[in-house]
Amino acid sequence: MIRNQLIWRLGAFAALVALITVLFAMQNSAYVSEGNIRALMRHMSVQGLAALGLTFVIVVRHFDLSFPGVASLGAMTLGWLIAIGMPLWVAVTGGLAMGFAFGLVNGIAVARLGLPDIVTTIATGGLAIGFSYFYSNGTSISQNFFMSGLLDLNDSKIIGLDMPFAILIGTALIACLLLHASRFGAGFYATGQNRLSARFAGVPTTTLIILAFALCATLASLSITLLVASSGAANVTAGNQLLMPAFAAVYLGAALFGRPSVGATLSGTLLMSMMLNGFTLLAIPYYYSDAIVSTVLITAIAIFDPRISAALRRLWPSQRQAA
């Protein structure tokens, strides 16, 4: 029965992919060209890494609104380290470490001190944005970028895949092992569903929540590293475009597959990127796509929320009998 359900859900996902493809390809045949598909996969890599990190926070039933700000700080840290002549690996590690540190602060504030997650992460996100102005008074940084090899993170290929997509796949595999096959994965889900019972089963709930926030912030910084590599400059507003698509991807995936998971998030990211890429191709202004992403997000939350989906089923009694 569970397997049947999975097939049904995969079918729904495939149908959505096909529907979006057909809709956009009808408007512009370039949508299915190789060049556009590569661009789509690059876009998906940036959005997907941020969404993967957020998945851990959503699995433990918390919220993180700070990761766009933290990502901006990561981008500026990376840019500054390259600009002062640090080797690439130091600069990348520095950016990720900055994200990790902010993630720890979020996690400790929420899990150990018991502060409310939404307000706390709004504040830490603001703090990160404030810090990101320190390096260059807010101007963008691009010194030494060409020499440093940073741009190769965007341009080079590995076993036939574009580097950003390969990084996404690699990260997703590790995340998948951690969340779905390791002993910690069960702890993340148990913590999210019922923190008290998880604690009574000996699950280190506090540690896992801190870890989830740390992963979220670190992966957001990794995501922004790819964005900086593709745009060739570090910017204090770099992270702004991560927030809504990441939430939409996680919730859309969870709505499609019944719960947040690595696979669900990747599926959600693919759908979101396909839509955003299509809008770009059709030259639809970005503010319309923002509105559409937001609509997708709120629809996905409504489907994922068991009470709302139950209420929707009550509206169509025939469907309930079919189920």
Binding site: I2, L177, A181, S182, R183, F184, G185, A186, G187, Y189, A190, Q193, N194, L196, S197, A198, R199, F200, A201, G202, V203, P204, R259, Q321, A323
Partner: protein, 520 residues
């Protein structure tokens, strides 16, 4: 008290009927939840509705309260036919329900909760809420009953019985309430609180309100009900007056169960000299419990009886590291220990089957395998990765051992009855391989069939482990334990006794008196 209605003639009874349901059908997909069910209720009677979990009693109640729409059958209230398609229709027909865990607003006062939804005389955004008027109306409503509670208090600060009374008054705020449904109201009440609830029910009955009373505690049927109806497998299998049941010696457990076995306790242990595994010396937490000393030995079950609020629940949590004791010692396997978290207690070999399995015990949206291995993830994994096949096999084996029904290791816990959920918590404990097993309220909300099995499991575990049973059900503690101790208002009454007399245990736990000894 029941004689009057019990000997009433059939014709007279029919004349006094307020509710008559007949031929009620309800199905969920392929499952028939109710099959051609009839049920009737008389003016001013207390009618107990009995049955194991899944027998169909809550489905019937949900149809009567308009939560579910029936698939077939007739409902007559006061001689008129009703469809009851929505909760509002049920309220208008005079049916009021008090849920098992009443949904009250903790931050509002008792009076405000009673009139929640009908604060203002007229609807509308600008209709004024008159607090003084509400307080006066609440006091007037309360004055009809021989109960004294302070309705100006916040509901969150009230004890369980007062919340229950507020919920009942909320149900009675409408003048037309004729049928009151109480769903397991005593499950969180102490004996004394139960008495005041029963007094209120008697008053309602005298005022002609018919009460449908759902309970798992059969002794209460004899205490308060006039008639009882037993459900089994979606059918109404018996309806008797209590007087008739007494006179003819009808066994309610036998009616509830398919097999002719009632609640049975396993035989007691004949070993009294197993090694001491867990010992407490003068254990106490300020304001919760004091001076608790006992020894739990391998090969026996130690029972601790105490009502809700007596400190027994907190005691179990102190033994498990969830509350830190501030006085006394815990000695585990000869070494003094001090747990700072449940994880530490588990590592040291203490396993707690918590009292509230839904909030403290289980991850309801995960399956049996997940819930079984959760407390021992290092055993469930190799090199940090879960051993899926081995875990499934181990969980299935344990599920068989605890008689999980249905034996579906991939089903989510939400899909099991209370008793079977409890069996999964026990399977988790077995998977953990602890030295001391602490069971808190092990059979709350568990039907009789599963109860006997759980007691038998406890006895089996006790063969080579120490088992402690902590419960507010005196018969349970007395029936299953080899030695017993009572806690009253945080203090132990007497020392743990072997083969303690049931009535003495009951007195110790309820009145705090130790016969022949000094009162606490």
């Amino acid at each position: 008290m029941a004689e009057g209605t019990g000997t009433g003639t059939r014709a007279g009874a029919e004349a006094g009927e307020i509710l008559s349901m007949s031929g009620i059908e309800k199905r969920f997909g392929d499952v028939k939840a109710l099959e051609n069910v009839g049920f009737d209720l008389r003016h001013g009677e207390i009618h107990a509705l009995l049955g194991v979990n899944g027998a169909g009693k809550s489905t019937l109640i949900k149809i009567l309260s308009g939560v579910y729409a029936k698939d077939g059958g007739v409902i007559e209230i006061g001689g008129e036919s009703y469809d009851l398609g929505s909760p509002r229709a049920a309220i208008e027909a005079g049916v009021a329900v008090v849920q098992q865990h009443p949904e009250l607003v903790g931050d509002l006062s008792g009076a405000e909760n009673i009139f929640l939804g009908s604060e203002a005389p007229r609807p509308g955004l600008f209709a004024r809420v008159n607090r003084r008027d509400i307080a006066a109306r609440a006091a007037q409503l309360l004055s009809r009953f021989p109960i004294e509670i302070d309705l100006s208090r916040k509901v969150a600060d009230m004890p369980a019985v007062e919340r229950e009374i507020v919920a009942i008054l909320h149900a009675l705020r409408l003048e037309n309430t004729r049928i009151l449904i109480l769903d397991e109201p005593t499950s969180t009440l102490t004996e004394r609180e139960k008495a005041s609830l029963f007094a209120m029910m008697a008053m309602l009955k005298a005022r002609g309100i018919a009460i449908i009373y759902i309970t798992h505690r059969l002794e209460e049927v004899y205490e308060i009900a006039d008639r009882f109806t037993v459900f089994r497998g979606g059918r109404n299998v018996a309806c008797h007056t209590v007087a008739e049941a007494r006179a003819r010696d009808i066994s309610i457990p036998n009616l509830m169960l398919d097999s002719k076995t009632g609640l049975t306790f396993p035989p007691r242990s004949d070993r009294a000299d197993g090694e001491i595994v867990l010992e407490t010396r003068g254990l106490g937490v300020e304001g919760l419990f004091q001076d608790v000393s006992f020894q739990a030995r391998k090969g026996e079950i130690l029972g601790i009886f105490g009502l809700v609020g007596s400190g027994v629940d907190e005691l179990s949590k102190a033994l498990f590291g969830a509350i830190r004791p501030d006085r006394g010692q815990i000695v585990l396997k000869g070494r003094e220990t001090r747990f700072t978290s449940p994880a530490q207690a588990l590592k040291a070999g203490v396993f707690l089957v918590p009292g509230d399995r839904r909030t403290e015990g289980l991850t309801l949206d995960e399956n049996v395998v997940f819930n079984t291995v959760l407390a021992n993830l290092s055993r469930a994994s190799a090199g940090g990765l879960l051993r899926f096949g081995a875990n499934r096999r181990a969980a299935t084996e344990l599920a068989q051992k605890v008689d999980l029904y249905p034996l579906k290791p991939d089903r989510n816990l939400r899909g099991f009855s209370g008793g079977n959920q409890q069996k999964v918590v026990i399977a988790r404990g077995l998977y953990r391989e602890a030295d001391v097993y602490i069971f808190v309220e092990p059979t709350v909300g568990v039907d009789i069939g599963a109860r006997s099995r759980i007691y038998a499991l406890m006895r089996e575990i006790s063969k080579d482990k120490a088992v402690i049973v902590i419960s507010s059900d005196c018969d349970e503690v007395h029936g299953v334990a080899d030695r017993t101790l009572a806690l009253y208002r945080g203090r132990p009454i007497g020392a743990p006794m072997r083969g303690e007399d049931r009535d003495r245990l009951l007195h110790a736990g309820i009145m705090g008196s130790e016969t022949g000894g000094k009162a606490a």
